[in-house]
Symmetry: C2
Amino acid sequence: MAKYFAFNAQHAIDYIKNLVKEEGYDFFQPDQTLTAYEFGDGNLNLVFRISDEQNNSVILKQALPYARCVGESWPLTLDRARIEAEVLVNHGAICPEHTANVLHYNPVSALTILEDLGHLQILRTAQINAEHFPLLGQHVARYLSYTGFYNSDFYLAAQDKKAKVTQFTNPELCQITEDLFFNDILREHERNNYPAQLQSTVSKLQSNAALHLAIAKLKAQFLSCPQTLLHGDMHSGSIFADQSTTKIIDPEFGFFGPIGFDIGSFIGNLLLNYCAQNARISEFVIRRNYHSHLLTCLQESYSLFEQQWLALIVKQSTDLNLQANGYAEHFMQQVLQDAIGYCGVELIRRTIGLAHVADIDGIEDEQARLDVQRHTLALGEQLVLNAHTCNNKEEFFSLLISQLN
Amino acid sequence: MAKYFAFNAQHAIDYIKNLVKEEGYDFFQPDQTLTAYEFGDGNLNLVFRISDEQNNSVILKQALPYARCVGESWPLTLDRARIEAEVLVNHGAICPEHTANVLHYNPVSALTILEDLGHLQILRTAQINAEHFPLLGQHVARYLSYTGFYNSDFYLAAQDKKAKVTQFTNPELCQITEDLFFNDILREHERNNYPAQLQSTVSKLQSNAALHLAIAKLKAQFLSCPQTLLHGDMHSGSIFADQSTTKIIDPEFGFFGPIGFDIGSFIGNLLLNYCAQNARISEFVIRRNYHSHLLTCLQESYSLFEQQWLALIVKQSTDLNLQANGYAEHFMQQVLQDAIGYCGVELIRRTIGLAHVADIDGIEDEQARLDVQRHTLALGEQLVLNAHTCNNKEEFFSLLISQLN
């Protein structure tokens, strides 16, 4: 069997041509001239677009054996390509309308061929430009509730669930989250990244004992609570969208973890954009409208997520114990509180940790950028600290609005 | 490689002789005449004692590919022999003084050779005879706290922990617990086993919605809370003891689960014996003394278990997040509430489910036996329902005493 090597554009073309010619794939007609270029802006992978003369195209994504943003000094398992492909296949079987379609996967070369979603926009870029996506909340709610429920103890037979937990054990990529998301942000760490002007704010945050305690609980859940097969990296850069379509990509951080993690991350990214728009949109009415759009999206996504989860539990649960009266409501209250907590941590870690968001870092005016960063830090802290006081989503929305005004 | 077949006594002797002669094991001198007999009273395995002329002896335990108590119609994975041997090796490395010593393991034949603990008594038999074991609580506390802590997120690096969770994934045996412990007892089921005189009591218990809800939470934790490597079947038949020694055997149900499960099961078995003694010891003073001995053992085991856990968290934790002020206390409060809940379920399921205890079933007087069964059912129900009200172990002990008098 061929050994792994990192592809260039010609390798990508040759590989695809061979699949079409020898393996019966029909991405392209056999006699087409193909062109390819690499355009990955991620940190861990090569991404090629391969097109024919009629502008048919596919994406070839290949994992590198190290973290590209840091260099070869940070080795990283190629098994993440398997995880990514298998999460997409799992989620795609449950929710094809919002999952990027896997056309081919090769474990030795750690590469996946995917449908080209280039006609859509990366959500982060579009939201930085204050574009409206009226169906986004609804689509994300559907994706997360359906993929969540059908991989949970409510639905899967216990033995099947255990096999899937093993299949999607993802130690190296989970370690990145365990470090960057929970650990680094609470102490001085060389991987942290924030301007000197924030030092006093950060020091105060890092000395808050209640915050340490709340984040300990969230970390413990992240480590030992395999409730469902998560996407694992559900930020605005993992979503392609237009007015009518939403497609989720890049679940290489996928693993069985707490249900609140993905929806919390998604909402956290909406809030990062919300705060950033205070510095980006100068005109009051336009800003107010966009803020209102983001809040509607947030509330819609959480409300529908919860509503669909509850409906699926009633209609589709197989575990008799978990059908006990009141259990679904108890369970979803825990999910809500977890989601608020993870959302808060996302706000903090995207502000002071290693991995930032362009929504904020791209703000040119330094003072305005610092104001946004202070806001996301304070908001994140309040969400983490008060998550356990929210007994229902209305209390969460009230808490949120009190912190946004 | 040889194929699996079920051993008889001669096979056991031949196997051991070969190990001594060809593989360098020194259980016996090479020229000894060995004798063997099968004496397993378990449901799932063959157990042989092999002795030489000087009365040196070892135990050879072989898993059968079906549940022996039911017959070949209930197939059961031989992988449980691997789980059992590997749990014993793991726990034995941490707490050799209370873990049966594995001398040899053969995965193909699904057999393990163990130190012979025949000089000790099975705790269940001894407690039925009202024997005192002054060090039992202390020893069990040490075994459960040390093996628990060193396999937990507090101590293990996250990647090592994930590898161990996979190593000890035990779907088939967990399924037995999931069915017998949580599911069957809450509904009419052919596997349930109780006298007709208990029907109205059982029906009332099975129609208690609050009990269904509390057990749903315990089941969910059992399914998706891999906190540590549990023994998984920590009843009085899995413990060998005398006045100075306590050794744990038979962890074939071992898996990563909620920390409260093992200690709850152990305490539940002390309470089953406590209730049974009301019908077994007729003389008041002797009964009162034995009850007092059992309660002391129970309180000592839980107190030391918690105390050693807390001390280990302070001194040996490696995860920085989980060292947050107050987290250990929060965590141990959850463990306490889980333990009380699992203890309560153990009382119920050993009274009306498939697997009973000889402490109760051996009571000859039918009316006295029924009284004990009503007591264990009521006690179990109250413990499950009130577990969440116990903020500390003193409140648990008070709750318990109020239900025992």
